[in-house]
Amino acid sequence: MTTTSAEMSQAGMPFVPGVLEVGPDGKGHLVGAHCPGCGASYFPARSVCSRCLRGDLERVPLGSSGTLYTYTVIHQSLPQFETPYILGYVDLDDNVRVAGQLVDVEADAVELGMRLTLQVEPLASQTLASQPLQSGEVGEGKQVLWFRFRPEAAASGPPVPPTGKPPTGKEQP
């Protein structure tokens, strides 16, 4: 399932190197590490298992379902982020905790323990208040990909537009 670097460069660039991939089906996922010895999982991926020190960790695609451990509404942030936005720590069913933004939900409807779905999607420039290092498109129509969480029921449809096409903006609420 691992995407080659050529495929990845067609689909888009991860917003942080190595943290996510897009499979041949066009669906994106986070990349973690799994210890074949003790079963521990890590995100971001690491070289050596902190629990048993095995050095042959496997890079694995992480699933998209998880439970909200805690959250905040951020009102003051770095210049590239338009405020306010909801940010949470989500415990994926793969037993790793991931920080990410929550969308398609009102702040007062967010509840600890709610089920969420992670979606890899283009990082739209409208998400950003000013022009940062990252933007929705890079160079020859290449997209920067990142991820956000949605309530389980609200998440549907192909998360990433077909390879090569620019973001439509439809993915942004």
């Binding site: 521990a40 902190s50 451990y69 905040t72 009102h75 905790r97 990252q134």
Partner: protein
């Protein structure tokens, strides 16, 4: 093992200094510590400097200012524990027999580097999705209040207490009391945390002169305070999601310090802890074993943590009241603990304390509890 004593302390008032730089502030703090120690500065045979954003050879720029160039100078960076790590490195050098008299300084000019919220480590995935340091602690606060059935008003009392202490500290950035209503009405930074529950952007420096017990006795340093332990730990990589309402890193660092000092948490008379946000103070003191988990805010309500209470926490005003120039913070905590143990803390003096603790921690990256944590035990 060689005994190590703090014989001189000094600091600048914390605040915003648009017309000065970190090196000038560092020089002021170092000269104040040398004066307080009442020693010939030529006795200083080594110096350690902690800072985060001050660039190359910051320490040499300070020693050059104050006429003690030529001695061994070491610069350390350990996020918010940088100043505390400088103190720790200084005492290691003394215990190792390398130096007899050492200057340790923490310094930072943050206002020229940042406005508003600090992000976690550069390039870290959590920072790249929009997580800020206030956001990290806001999320810990949300979960803590939910898990222990506590309210935001109870949390806000930490800020009220610390700002009241800072109002009695001439070295504090803010010297004005605030009411709980003002805390709860201040603008939200990362919900539930409001502006008055977040440590400010600050500039400043703090310095400590350490020497061997033999030297202190030889020079007749009657006000010397023993640095009984100075422990450092780094955060472990998490191999599964864990509670964010308790700090194994603080607990482990504290246990290492208590063991070396030959004390337990029950022996601690007061503590300066890393209250970068209101919730942080609860997490620190519970990690230090000074209060049971989930009980600290109730103890604050009962007045136990204020000056005059059973176990005063952050008599200096803490980071919330005194300010938080990152690299200077850990050294400034030692300055306060020494002043309290000497009985020289003025209006905010605690009644004859014998054992004081300084706790610092900082840094955050995805999948790691924290980067650096220090716990120092000082005994009169």
């Amino acid at each position: 093992m060689t005994d190590v004593y703090a014989v001189g302390v000094g600091m600048t008032r914390f605040g915003k200094y648009p017309d000065r730089d970190a090196f000038d502030l560092g020089a002021e703090a170092a000269l104040a510590a040398i004066k307080d120690a009442d020693i010939d500065p030529r006795m200083i045979d080594g110096a350690y400097f902690g800072h985060v954003y001050q660039g190359m050879n910051a320490g040499q720029r300070v020693t050059g200012h104050i006429g003690i160039s030529g001695i061994p100078v070491t610069n350390v960076e350990n996020v918010c524990s940088s100043g505390a790590t400088a103190v720790r490195e200084a005492q290691i050098a003394i215990r190792a027999g390398e130096h007899d008299v050492v200057l340790a300084v923490g310094l930072e000019h943050l206002s020229s580097k940042f406005r508003g919220a600090l992000a976690p480590e550069e390039g870290d995935v959590e920072g790249a999705v929009g997580l800020t340091m206030p956001g990290v602690y806001a999320m810990r606060a949300r979960r803590y209040l939910a898990d222990f059935g506590l309210t935001h008003a109870q949390l806000g009392m930490v800020a009220v207490k610390n700002k009241a202490n800072a109002a009695m500290n001439p070295f504090a950035q803010y010297q004005k009391t605030v009411t709980l209503e003002e805390v709860l009405a201040s603008r939200p930074i990362a919900e539930p945390l409001n502006l008055l529950e977040c440590s400010p952007v600050s500039d400043g420096a703090a310095a400590v002169i350490l020497m061997t017990g033999d030297k202190a006795r030889q020079l007749g340093k009657g006000r010397a305070i023993r640095l009984a332990a100075s422990a450092l730990r780094s955060g472990k990589v998490e191999s599964e999601p864990s509670s964010m309402t308790f700090e194994p890193l603080t607990r482990d660092t504290a246990n290492a310090a208590y063991e070396v000092a030959g004390i337990g948490p029950e022996d601690v008379d007061f503590a300066e802890v890393h209250d970068c946000f209101s919730i942080a103070e609860a997490l620190r003191v519970e990690g230090l074993g000074l209060f049971e988990q989930g009980t600290y805010l109730l103890a604050v309500e009962r007045g136990e943590a204020q000056i005059g209470g059973r176990l005063p926490i952050n008599p200096s005003g803490g980071l919330l009241g005194k300010g938080h120039p990152l690299g200077a913070t850990g050294a400034a905590q030692v300055v306060e603990v020494v002043r309290q143990l000497r009985g020289e803390a003025g209006q905010r003096q605690i009644d004859s304390p014998r054992v004081g603790v300084a706790h610092c921690r900082g840094g955050k990256a995805a999948g790691v509890e924290g980067a650096a944590c220090t716990v120092q035990v000082l005994v009169r």
